[in-house]
Symmetry: C2
Subunit: 404 residues, 2 copies
């Protein structure tokens, strides 16, 4: 089964969007929520800080009692209590009174400022203050960061360390998040064997097995990997089993147009092949289908083609599967070389970008893994362009922008 017309990349994305599946939710302890996506709007359970807090170690006072204070003319206070961090005090601070207070402790009633310890002189139960404070000085007011009921994080937010801090501060130690997509990776090819020093004649190392696992992880998924021979019945069985237990299936090998197309035929027999062949380079012989409601990406056996197909299509889908508002966001860079490109296909040129420029990597064959090792970005050349002149601005997709 081969859809003989290559479809443009934009049509491939449209088909992916129309068939986007998403993961369910689960409740996780906040300790394990890093890099997950929030599945609920989070409303603060209290003000933050929850009370007027002292921002310094010192003495809580009524600010007006310190007005005019100086080393020559200090104001005097009676110390009536002491509040450590985590403690509370019942005393009211009246005129001429002070309460010793630690950083983070709640300001006692009546007080409206904190005099830093170094601007006081202590003698017994009395202190002298040698410098005035203004009302509110050294006080973090309740609700300064957020108010009870505020939506502090929205559904769909990726939880970086700062968002983890925010969730905890808002009173949550458990969060409703989206599950990590579980991905079954099936590497096909009789010519593949486990990497070792002893290659059998005609065999090559199975690099895709390891690469696809890492690629799936870099996009927030969990991968289970296996190797299948180029045998229609076995591959049908593998895919039939995989769609029962996983959210997504990725295969490599057996998609080339003129070959047996064993994988594409297998998917066609089990479900629907929605595209086969995309006008992109490298990576043209890529297919996508749905089996039992689950997405199946059929990538090339060539390592570089498989990586590019993953990055362009499967990664996009996998990130969106986690309810992230992801799309490939390119940046502009000045191209340090001339890049030829045929019209009618989108080129993903392996390249090395810095803050202002991008340099295409020389070797462009689908077998040249070195070219990916040397790259940190793709130059994306639209199907309507005929290459890029040296010094011209071009669109660049940074690898760093494509991971969680």
């Amino acid at each position: 089964m081969f859809l003989s017309e290559l479809i443009p990349v934009r049509d491939a994305f449209r088909i992916l969007d129309e068939n986007q599946r998403s993961t369910e939710t689960e409740t996780l302890n906040l300790l394990y929520a890093h890099k997950r996506v929030l599945a609920e709007d989070l409303k603060a359970r209290f003000d933050s800080p929850p009370f007027d807090r002292s921002a310094m170690d010192g003495y809580a006072v009524r600010a007006e009692d310190t007005f005019g204070s100086s080393p020559e003319n200090p104001s005097r206070f009676t110390v009536t209590d002491s509040i450590g961090a985590g403690d509370v005090s019942d005393v009211d601070v009246d005129r001429g009174e002070a309460v010793k207070i630690a950083t983070g402790a709640p300001i006692p009633r009546g007080a409206d400022a904190v005099v830093m310890e170094e601007y006081t002189v202590s003698s017994g139960s009395e202190i002298s203050v040698v410098r005035p404070v203004f009302p509110g000085e050294n006080v973090s007011p309740a609700g300064e960061d957020f108010r009870a009921g505020d939506t502090v994080l929205s559904k769909g937010t990726l939880l970086r360390p700062a968002e983890i801090a925010m969730a905890a501060s808002a009173g949550y130690s458990q969060l409703r998040v989206y599950k990590k997509p579980s991905v079954k990776v099936i590497i096909t090819g009789n010519e593949l064997m486990e990497p070792s020093a002893d290659l059998e004649p005609g065999k090559i190392p199975n690099s895709n097995l390891y690469t696809l696992k890492a690629l799936v992880e870099s996009a927030g998924g969990d991968a289970e990997v296996s190797h299948a021979p180029d045998d229609m019945d076995i591959i049908v069985d593998e895919i039939r089993g995989a769609v029962k237990e996983h959210d997504m299936v990725i295969t490599t090998g057996g998609t080339a147009v003129s070959r047996g197309d064993v994988v594409v035929d297998a998917v066609d027999s089990l479900g629907d092949v929605l595209f086969h062949g995309v006008a992109m380079r490298p990576g043209k012989p890529v297919a996508f289908g749905i089996v039992e409601g689950k997405p199946v990406f059929m990538l090339s056996g060539y390592p570089v083609a498989a990586m590019v197909q993953f990055d362009v299509l499967a990664r996009y889908y996998l990130l969106r599967m986690q309810h992230l508002d992801y799309s490939h966001r390119t940046v502009k860079r000045r191209c340090l070389g001339k890049v030829a490109s045929g019209p009618g296909r989108t080129e993903y040129v392996r390249a090395n970008a810095d803050n202002g420029t991008v340099k295409p990597v020389q070797s462009r064959g689908s077998g040249i893994i070195r070219s990916m090792v040397e790259s940190n970005a793709y130059i994306v050349i639209d199907e309507n362009l005929e290459g890029i002149a040296e010094g011209e601005e071009c669109e660049v997709l940074l690898f760093d922008s494509m991971t969680l």
Copy 2:
């Protein structure tokens, strides 16, 4: 114990560099090596590809036998064998002979090109070729990607998916890598309690526990977290136990200059405090020491200060601990606002950067977690500058550039 002079940020980095510790090596299956750092130079165990491979499904022939072929004047060949992927053939391809060959299969002796299947017409054991091929056409020559003995990956390389592919292709399913740093995180503060809807009076949620775990993970470490009260004996015991079992210790709380400084005193009693107080904002009250040969970072209790101190100092150290050639690499962006800054301290201004510009985040208090949620970068203002004018270029440290 307080080193009363704040040291410049560059001196803090110098002290960290002089006291840099590194993790040991371990051997890992390549399946688990993603984001690890390679601890050996990797030499290819064979050529890649290991033999001249067919790049297409078709027929292996001697190219000169096809010269002049056309649909009107096809050249005829006797098919003497068939080679599937993973197979080998013993036949020699003589003049007028062809061997059916699959993509990825080794080119048989005598042949030097592959005619694509679609340019042939088959009848019984004979084929007609309707188009000439040049010598080497549709053949991936042995060693095209790399040669046996080539150093394909160097010690110290971060293993992204492409490097995983390279290691497998070079014949390795096991790699010598550096261990992940094991980090003990000790959060101090009597005022902290587990986040929940029911805050006790005077208490605040312990957000640092969760945040520091995520921060350590984002820098490639494994974190074990605990909460300790502001009690000298307990903290001394915790740190003494932690340095026996972990590669690094991070504390939060108890570093403020005028407070009990319980953590800094504890480290001082167990080992050496090498700095306490850095001329940076936010994050001035940060300390670093060595206990039993292990690094101890003492961060603030304030969540934002702790995050900035982690990013600037502990993250730098933790990434280098894994033998990565890491330093904070800033990029230039045009600043969309005016930023005030006092000379004599390095400012890390929370900010939101895009490809060309950076916008400082408004709220700058150390308690305002929201400000970190709104940020994806720091504007770094050198201690010799007095702020940035609107529209001026400034140095920006992108969060994305600081993670594995």
